[in-house]
Structures are given as C-alpha cells and as structure tokens.
Amino acid sequence: MAESTPMPARRFDPWPATIFVMLAVLAVLFLLPTAGVVLSSLKTTHDISMGDLWSLPATLYLGNFREALSNPSVHRYLLNTLLVTLPATTGSITLGVLAGYVFAKLPFRGSNALFLVLVAGMFFPPQAILVPLFRMFNAVGLIDTLWPVIVVHTALGIPICTLLMRNFFATVPNALREAAIMEGASEWQVLTRVVLPLSLPALAVLAVLQFTWIWNDFLWPLIFTKSDDKRTIMIGIVNLKGQYSVAWGVQGALSLVASLPTLAVFLFFQRYFIKGMTMGAVKG
C-alpha cells in the first residue's frame, strides 16, 4: 500500500527510521534462537557446559561437524530421507499434474465437487488415518520399510499438488489446447508438449514445498519404521540425543546438517517458496 505513497520531501519524517529500528530489533530477536544452534555447533562441550553457549566463539571449532558427519548412522538417516523425499515429491507432483489437468481443461458434471473433496484432504489431521494405515501396511508386511512413508506422502501430497496445478493450468489459454488438438495431437501430447513446458514455475513451487514438507516430516516415519537403519534424519536426530546427551555441540551440528538441504532449497528458491506458501496457503 505505502509503495505508491512515497514520502514527499516536506519536513523530517521520523517514521521510516523508527520502523527500521523496530524491525531490526525484532529481526535480532527472531534470529537469536537459530543463532544459538549455529554458535553451539562451533564450540567444544567444555565451553558450553561452562555456561558459554550464547557468546561468540573465540576460535572456530569444527570437531562437532566432524563427529556428526563421520557417524555412519547419520549417513544412513540422510540416505533414507532422500530415498523417501525424492520419489514422494516426484510422485505427488505427477499425480497432481494429471488430476489438475482434468479439473482445469476437461471438466465434467460433478468435477467441482470431486475437486473440493480432494482439496479438503489437506485440512484434516493425519491422526485420523494413522491406525488404519498402520494396520494396512502391517498386513502386507511393509512396516519397518520406507515404502509406507513414500506411499503415504505421495497420497497426502495429491491435494496441494492438484490445487496448485489446476489453478495454474486454468491460466493457460484453452485456444492453445484446441489448436493442438485440431493439429491432431492427443490429450497426452497436449499435456506433455504444450501445457507442461509452460508450467515450470508452478512445478518449481510444488517441488520446493513438497521437498521441504517431506524432508522435515516426523510423524509418518515415526509410525511406520522401527529399526535404526530405516529411520529418517528427523527421527535419527531424536535417537542420537541419547548418544550425545551432553555433547550439545554435536547436537547443534546435527541439527544444522539435517536442515541444510531445506535451507539450501529455501535460499535458492526463496521467491517460489513464498509464492507457494501464499498460493497454497493452506497446507500445514
């Protein structure tokens, strides 16, 4: 709103400076918690237990990262997380593209109602399907594998992916599709050759959102996996707390290592991330 009301050069206006200072103070307060983890990861356990966690380290101590990264369990956790995140991200986006295309370009009687049912799927608490899913995967012997985590994340990603893809496809002119069909293209060719190449921004938004949510998830791997070599990194961190109970620095380093992929994705695709958050604005 204020962007179109530039401050005219009348007398001195104290507001911009005041607001800047307020924001700076708030920003420091907001950064403090994260800064604590970064600081701790660069200090020895001895320094921290001396009550020195929250000060700047005199020397950079990288032993915590060495310890965290040389732990074979951590390798396993990270690999497992990738093995879940990549297929589930790809799977949910693919299914969302298929459904979104039909809802945007081939609507039928009752398609709006069906669409609403799908989208409602992103609101309800996952606890409502925990027990039956556990029983289902238990019956086919897939508990304590990564499969249920992949499958459930794929299924639960369908609502948000369908919603965003449908809304994006709706902005692609119908004339484009009709022209291609007149030229003898099949619906599949229209989707893959005409519409999808135009949809890269929406696909990027979804890739970022889904990657972040699935990587960060805690509940599903907690329910579906048991043995240590099937755990994902977020569960792994909690498990390793016992091993590094007073090695606060190693815990800090672990937290940073586990957040690095999502932080990297966030920093590279910041614009897409915010866009997805506001467009989707719905998934929690």
Partner: protein
C-alpha cells in the same frame, strides 16, 4: 470428441484418484469402523464394542485435559502468530532498506522442521545455561533456574511460544500478499480527507484484509489440531500430561498403550472437529468472495 474426452478423463484421473482413495479416503472410513472395536494393534482378532470407546472418551479425564489444552493451544495459535504476523506485514509493507532481508529472517523458521525448532527452544528453556534464564539472571541479578519445560504450569505455554515463533512468518507472508491488493490511491484519498493513520488502519486496511485473516485463522486452527511433532519433541505431552493435546493423546493411546480401537475413537472426534472448522472456513471464504469478489 465427447467420447474421447471421457476416455482421457478416466485415464488421467485413474491414478491420482486410486492412490488418494486407497491411502486417504479408505483409511478415513476405516477409522470410523475401528473406533467401534477393541483392536490392540497386533492381535488379528478383535471384538465389536459398540459405542464403548466413545463412552470412555466422555469419562476419560486425560481426554478432557487434552481437549482443554488443545483449546488453549488453538486460541493462542490464532492470537499470537496472527497478531505478530499482521504487525510485521504492516511494518514491512513500504519501501525500506533491507526489506527483503527482514522478510527472509521472519519466514526462515517456516522451513525448519518441528524437530529442529523443538531442539532450538529446548536450549533456550534449558534451566542452567539456557538463553531465557541467562537473560533473566542478568536483568534481575537474582538466581534463575526455572525448568520451563519440566514444570506443569509453564510447559504448554513454553511450547506455544516456540510454535508461534515458527508460524509467524506464514501469517506475515499471507498478510503481505493481502496488502499488495489494497490500492494506494484509496489510502491517499483517506489521507487527504484527514483520516489519521490509526483510522486508516482500523477503518480501511483491516476490513480490506478480511480475506487474508480468514485464511490465516483457518490455517492456525487446522495446524493447531495437527499440533504433534513439536510437543512430542519438547515435552512429550508432559509433565503430568500438562501439555497433552488431542493429537498427542491419540498417539499415546494408539501407539504407546496400543489401544488402537480407543485411539481410533479419539481420531474420529478430532476429525469431526476439523470438519466443522473446515466447513466454517469454506462458508466464510464464500461470503468473503461474494463481498470482495
């Protein structure tokens, strides 16, 4: 042509609907079914117990406790991140040096996982060297080693603060998007007409932000019904169930005590609450759509 469309529709919708049906809709239906049984999670046999699980809910002291905590959590989760996010959005919605940097700082916590957020705040609340007690010691000069997360009267609120820290960025982003939709000329007219900044905010900006508020509030409610990970990490629902929520209670009954039938009954109640909220949200959204088109 029409026939072909029908074939394509079926072909394209088959996979997404099958996956969604099998792994979301069907389990949801089954939850209702299991809520009438006493299944324990392992034994292939179970009995129908009718409404016994729901009868137990009514008398379960822990369920009542979890409901109250969920309500507290919900109200706090609506008020704190929404107010903070709105404030930040109003401050940031102007040409400022470093605006991009500020925005990044405020929404950075959203992309951290609940586990990491929990970890971070456990350290802040740590009794001996945690940031909070350290600051209190310096400010008051007295000894402070209150164990924030281990005391029944501060545990829930301590988690709520951590949760608000993470969620504020989300409401800020939604409000910022809403603010870009308010025409600048409108505010200029108000200024020319002599409206004070406070009047402009109260009478013009806030009413025009209603659609964003609906989204933010609905999200807060829904996310607070899901509130599980961060509690599991920070308090596990304790001490003495003082920070237990419905989602947490459901997990404990089903997967710690293996009363899956009873757990299903709790999840059915949770689902019904969520449905009411979603229904209200959609209705409100339609009303907002009609007014603000």
């Amino acid at each position: 042509m029409n026939r072909q469309n029908r074939i394509w529709r079926t072909a394209l919708l088959a996979a997404p609907l099958a996956v969604f049906g099998l792994f979301v809709v069907w389990p949801l239906m089954s939850s209702f079914y299991y809520s009438f049984t006493n299944w324990n999670g392992f034994n292939p046999n179970y009995d129908f117990v009718g409404f016994a699980n729901f009868g137990k809910i009514v008398t379960d002291r822990l369920f009542l406790n979890a409901t109250i905590n969920t309500a507290i959590w919900m109200v706090a989760a609506i008020v704190l991140p929404t107010a903070l996010g709105l404030g930040l959005a109003l401050l940031l919605d102007r040409k400022l040096p470093g605006a991009r940097f500020f925005k990044s700082v405020f929404y950075l916590p959203i992309c951290l996982s609940a586990v990491i957020v929990g970890q971070i705040w456990i350290w802040i609340y740590q009794p001996d060297w945690g940031l909070l007690n350290t600051v209190l010691r310096h400010v008051t000069g007295a000894e402070h080693n209150w164990a924030w997360l281990a005391r029944p009267n501060t545990a829930l609120w301590s988690v709520i603060v951590a949760w608000s820290w993470q969620q504020t960025g989300l409401s800020m982003v939604i409000y910022l998007a809403g603010l870009t939709g308010i025409p600048g000329d409108l505010l200029e007219v108000c200024e020319i007409e002599g409206a004070s900044p406070w009047q402009r905010l109260r009478r013009v900006v806030l009413p025009l932000l209603t659609p964003s508020t609906v989204v933010v509030v609905a999200l807060s409610v829904i996310n607070s019904l899901k509130g599980f990970d961060i509690l599991y990490i920070m308090t596990g629902g304790g001490p003495f169930n003082s920070s237990d929520t419905l989602a947490m209670h459901m997990y404990n009954e089903s997967f710690a005590k293996f009363r899956m039938g009873y757990g299903s009954a709790i999840s059915v109640v949770l689902f019904l609450i969520a449905m009411v909220v979603i229904g209200l949200y959609f209705r409100q959204l339609r009303k907002v759509d009609r007014i603000y088109g």
